[in-house]
């Protein structure tokens, strides 16, 4: 576990307090989570497509959900447990295909190069916290070169002739990313598409922490209601490792899942998150999507009702 964790949490909180709910500071196409349909507070598509404003009613509906659910720190989801049919087959694929998620370009929020980053050895250039792999990405977003566009300008003209059933691609962007499509993951993808409140899928990524994950925010959605959706699809830890910290208050809570679900969510608008690493495997699925607010409302309502007792303890 990282030393002085609460001190670090408090330092990171301070960084986010000034722009906590601003969508303009969200730049999802450059996050570790991969290319998205939302970029700097606008809708986007492929890297060559023009952007346009996020609809007012979409924002309003999520603000309304924030009024109802903004008090939650995290929430188990009323979704049946999602597991791999064959964990050994998964491990074989994982060990062969996973990549280290490493920064390879500066970004607006961290404009420093590897050499001049103020965090030195602890910067995102050098400190690799996750191994990862994307297992699907929306066909209308160009996964391969998306991050090579900066402010709509193509930085590195590149195309790939790589394709096929096992479509492994390493692409250079702000962070390394790799799309690996395989039939093994189809059942997982279908389960997610069926049960998560998705309007449009951006991508699905599997992550494995390989050291302590420093507290941070995702560059996805800053709503006050929980829309950061995850599945701990295989976790060999005997105690909770993922925590969320309230940006306003600093109160930190661990995500302690009940036995009947491994899906959960938290608000990326109101909370930071981090992971303690105990040298035990945790395979963690990040679902990155444009959310359907009606489906979100239904799922949150059902989940709050089902897990009322757990929420009381929180």
């Amino acid at each position: 576990m990282i030393e002085n964790k609460q001190k670090i949490i408090d330092e990171v909180r301070q960084k986010y307090l000034s722009n906590q709910f601003s969508m303009k500071n969200m730049n999802p196409s450059k996050t570790k989570l991969g290319p998205c349909f939302q970029l700097n507070g606008e809708w986007s598509g492929s890297s060559w497509s023009p952007t346009f404003p996020i609809f007012d009613d979409y924002i309003k509906n999520f603000e309304l959900l924030g009024e109802t659910y903004g008090h939650l720190s995290w929430l188990p989801l009323a979704i049946p447990k999602i597991e791999f049919d064959d964990i050994e087959e998964f491990r074989n694929i994982w060990e062969r295909e996973k990549i280290e998620i490493r920064r390879v370009l500066p970004s607006e929020d961290e404009p420093w190069n590897e050499e001049d980053h103020p965090l030195g050895e602890n910067s995102s250039w050098k400190r690799v916290e996750f191994a990862g792999l994307h297992v699907t990405s929306n066909a209308t977003i160009d996964f391969n070169i998306h991050d090579l566009y900066v402010n709509g300008k193509l930085q590195v003209p590149q195309y790939s002739n790589e394709s096929g059933f096992r479509q492994g691609r390493n692409a250079q962007g702000t962070f390394t990313k790799k799309l690996f499509k395989h039939r093994f993951f189809s059942k997982l993808i279908v389960q997610i598409m069926d049960t998560f409140p998705i309007a449009q899928i951006n991508n699905i990524m599997i992550l494995e922490p390989i050291k302590d994950v420093y507290p941070h925010r995702e560059q996805t959605w800053p709503w006050k209601c929980p829309t950061e959706f995850r599945i701990n699809i295989h976790d060999e830890n005997t105690e909770p490792t993922i925590y969320v910290s309230n940006i306003q208050t600093g109160v930190t809570k661990y995500i302690d899942l009940p036995d009947d679900t491994n899906s959960f969510c938290w608000s990326n608008g109101t909370h930071l998150y981090g992971i303690d690493y105990h040298n035990k495997p945790l395979y963690h699925v990040a679902v990155n999507a444009v959310w359907n607010y009606k489906k979100v409302a239904t799922l949150l309502e059902k989940s709050v009702k089902k897990y009322e007792r757990i929420l009381e303890k929180n």
Binding site: G45, W48, T136, S137, N138, A139, T140, D142, F143, N144, P157, Y159, N161, S163, G164, F165, R166, Q167, R169, L179, K181, H182, R183, F185, S186, I189, V190, M193, Q200, I201
Partner: protein, 182 residues
């Protein structure tokens, strides 16, 4: 052996065909020859899958597929389409014959090399840069099929093909190409 295409059955095929054709004919000018600017026309801005023909998503659900995007491919003669790979991370798409598909084929090629170019419609594609590609198989296009669009392919119209020839092409999650044998 690598499959380049596979015919499939989808529910409500006639409804999908009729609603698509009615909409294209009555609500758009995409089938007006004088307005033709290129064969590939994305339909996303029309909310085609959500609003115009929601039956597609219902039918695909039975195949464990969720449609991401739909486009049409419109040709009047063989010169309108050249051997190409689609510019996408998809391995395969589902193609549905809509109009004048009889007596036409989708032809697949090996060793096709390409570089990114932009169609007049604004859509990128891989333009062929070599000539030593060769045909490996052809799909008689008379029913819905999964097609491996990450490999070189083209439309072949015969003397008996009526025009415009119209195909609906749909990207999915999970990638429909995973249903083709590698």
């Amino acid at each position: 052996m690598k499959e380049f295409w596979k015919k499939i059955e989808i529910d409500n095929l006639e409804v999908i065909r009729k609603k698509t054709l009615d909409w294209l004919t009555n609500e758009t000018d995409y089938l007006v020859k004088s307005k033709w600017r290129g064969p590939f026309i994305p339909l996303k801005k029309h909310r085609f899958l959500d609003v115009i023909v929601p039956e597609i998503a219902e039918s695909f659900r039975k195949l464990d597929l969720f449609p991401d995007d739909a486009s049409i491919y419109v040709t009047y003669n063989n010169g309108d389409s050249i051997p190409h790979k689609d510019y996408t991370d998809s391995i395969g798409r589902i193609n549905i014959p809509i109009l004048n598909y009889e007596n036409s084929f989708t032809v697949f090629f090996e060793n096709l090399k390409g570089k990114r170019a932009i169609l007049p419609t604004g859509s990128p594609f891989y333009m062929t840069t070599n000539r030593d590609y060769y045909e490996v198989t052809r799909l008689p296009f008379d029913s819905p099929a999964i097609v491996r669009i990450s490999e070189g392919h083209d439309i072949l119209m015969t003397d008996f093909t009526k025009v415009p020839r119209v195909t609906l092409t749909i990207s999915t999650t999970p990638d429909a190409g995973l249903l083709l044998d590698d």
